[in-house]
Assembly symmetry: C2
Homo-oligomer: 405 residues x 2
């Protein structure tokens, strides 16, 4: 076991113990929001036939050579193609076929004239301009050839991607299986929302925040539960969860005042303790263990601390187990908008609000000056963390700081 | 009926016919991703009692007056408060109570000293420094008072918001009801993905794209279906859908070459035709009608055109019927990265890719130079539309353009 690891090392140690997800084939509508497990090749050419981009007439461009308002070309219209149909007839000199937008262009024709640029006279189409070969002509496979990659492995299937897959005729796709998680909160002080707290009792909100965040990351949350500060009860619940879930997140029982309850439980269960403690505040109280191959990430019982740790520690792990590369947090430089005069012997993550100023520069304001760990609503105003290096003597307005969005 | 309306007017005409959503109360876990229908007040003070922010001892600051390493204060520890409990005892001069982080501070105490700053000697806590009154003391209700607004009406309930509500003891919340939609695609040429197309047939992808986009906007999609180009069949399906859904989106049958099939059907059904045609390309072929109070938005059958119209026309309407204000598209100025030399007598929406350059400036590249309406994969590379005014003689690299993100 390692005591007090750097944030970056903690991230790697947790990520290492995550398993890449397996794949399953699901029907297209169910694939919405999922992550592609393989490259998808077009099953047919797209378009699947030579196609007219507009309403008009298919013909041979040569028939319009020299055509003008004073000397128009006149072609016999031998067929009309309606939506979903096609013409068996071959277009030769002096002949045209009426087409709708998207219709297959008949054999022999090498261009299409727009309906608005023509008129019909006694069954003949009158054309007063010259056309070039292949004008208004979409070639079979010009967008995609059969076998071309439509979407790459690891793409997140939002609406546009689902539409593209449907458009090339794909009815089902391989996506990564959703990992399953169990979330447990420990604490004799915890009660469920909806009842009045007795003195000393508080609402167990971590279960809710963490379960929702996991769902937002594409993870199935199998179960959530509040547990008393009882080794046997916690040990039983963790062992049971490890049998069903791919990983477990617990909150509470990791700070010094709580007698390292989780560490004791995990040792009793024979789990491998990978590390204890991360060099960042808030959220330094973290225990990472592995029980029967299943990662068990034990976070602080303090809601703000557990939220910080979740966002700073888990993205690489969550990315690995879901295959969703967009879960990683973006880091960037931003101009600080206010002072922070607290000295920080340890590295700190301050909640901030990030936006773009009129010139497009990234700017950030510290919104938890008080660092009041009980102030839940701070989380709602914040959209980033400011990474304050250890040994910092404070931050000044105008300084460039590193933020994690 | 109005022919050929401006985009902005079309947006307003559709929005006007949307109904603000009703509310329903749902349990907190089910409220995830939903939109709050009322302000939520804290049901209790937060914290609900005077609370210790750290592990240590509650005492009267006066007892530490003059305390130093050479002349420490020694206080009798008369009680210990464990998680979830509290002390009935009153703290008076010379007395201390041992507390855990988050414990209620007993009556009479006016400060808390951190455990690490003390030592225990023969049942007495030894303190070598002075404390101020209210040092390390969190007051009942200091974060939120009972009745204070925790979250405002119209907030989208992401994980952090669900956690905050749980943390103040809210077990169920009023959220807007999800509107119900039906999506219908018409076209004799349309087939379902998964089968091989005969000549002239194409895959009906609009249903998939639109149903997924509606779900992403928080709308229940009751049904989707492909219909033949048959007035009676379309009329029957639209009338049936209008009886069940709050609104209907159809695709196909709105362009001139398709003989205004949808307009004919809507007239036969006795619907009010509000407008036909929008002054923008692609996506100009739009029919908006209202049948028995239910908006029926009929978009082009062309996948790119219907996608553009959806994104440019519907956000205000979708925002109104869901209560989700974040659905509105953001518009901004960006520096164009390439030329566009096509003259535009009508207003155009070009697909673009927007990003920030090194200085943070918004820049945008046109990615559908060809404007090939069949090229579905363009949709995947695009993250914005470039709004090209009517009468434009083309755009130049370096020009500022208006983009819709």
């Amino acid at each position: 076991m390692i005591e007090k690891v750097e944030l970056e090392k903690a991230r790697r140690l947790i990520e290492k113990r995550g398993c890449a997800p397996g794949a399953e084939k699901v029907a297209l509508p169910e694939a919405h929001g999922r992550v592609l497990a393989e490259d998808i090749a077009a099953p047919v050419d797209c378009p699947p036939f030579n196609r007219s981009p507009l309403d008009g007439y298919a013909l041979q461009a040569g028939d319009t050579a020299g055509a003008s308002p004073s000397a128009p070309a006149r072609l016999e219209v031998i067929d009309t193609v309606y939506a979903g149909g096609y013409s068996h007839k071959k277009v030769t000199g002096g002949i045209a076929v009426r087409l709708m937008t998207g219709s297959p262009i008949p054999e022999g024709a090498d261009c299409v004239i727009r309906q608005e640029d023509t008129r019909l006279e006694e069954g003949r189409v009158v054309i007063e301009k010259e056309l070039f070969p292949w004008e208004n002509y979409c070639f079979r496979g010009e967008n995609l050839r059969k076998g071309d990659t439509v979407l790459k492995k690891d793409s997140v299937l939002q609406a546009a991607a689902i539409g593209v897959l449907a458009g090339v005729g794909v009815a089902a796709v391989p996506v990564y299986k959703k990992p399953a998680a169990a979330v447990l909160s420990t604490g004799d002080e915890l009660i469920e929302p909806g009842v009045l707290p007795a003195p000393g009792q508080i609402y167990g909100s971590n279960l809710y925040t963490i379960a929702c965040r996991l769902k937002e990351c594409g993870i199935n949350v199998l179960s959530t539960g509040i547990l008393r500060d009882d080794r046997a009860a916690i040990g039983g619940a963790v062992a049971e969860a490890a049998g069903r879930a791919d990983f477990i997140i617990t909150t509470g029982g990791v700070s010094a005042g709580e007698k390292d309850l989780m560490a004791a439980v995990m040792k009793e269960l024979g789990a491998e303790i990978v590390f204890r403690g991360v060099k960042i505040r808030p959220g330094s109280a973290v225990l990472f263990s592995v029980l029967g191959g299943k990662p068990v990430i034990s976070l602080s019982g303090n809601p703000l601390a557990s939220a910080v740790t979740f966002e700073l520690l888990l993205p690489p792990f969550l990315q690995k187990i879901t295959g969703n590369r967009s879960l990683e947090r973006r880091t960037m430089q931003a101009v600080l908008q206010n002072d922070f005069d607290k000295k920080s012997p340890v590295r700190r993550a301050l909640r901030g609000k990030f936006w773009r100023d009129r010139e497009g520069r990234a700017v950030v304001e510290i919104i938890d000056h008080m660092q009041s760990s009980g102030n839940l609503t701070v989380a709602l105003k914040s959209n980033c963390y400011i990474d304050v290096e250890k040994g910092s003597t404070g931050l000044k307005r105008g300084e460039m700081v590193r933020i994690i969005v």
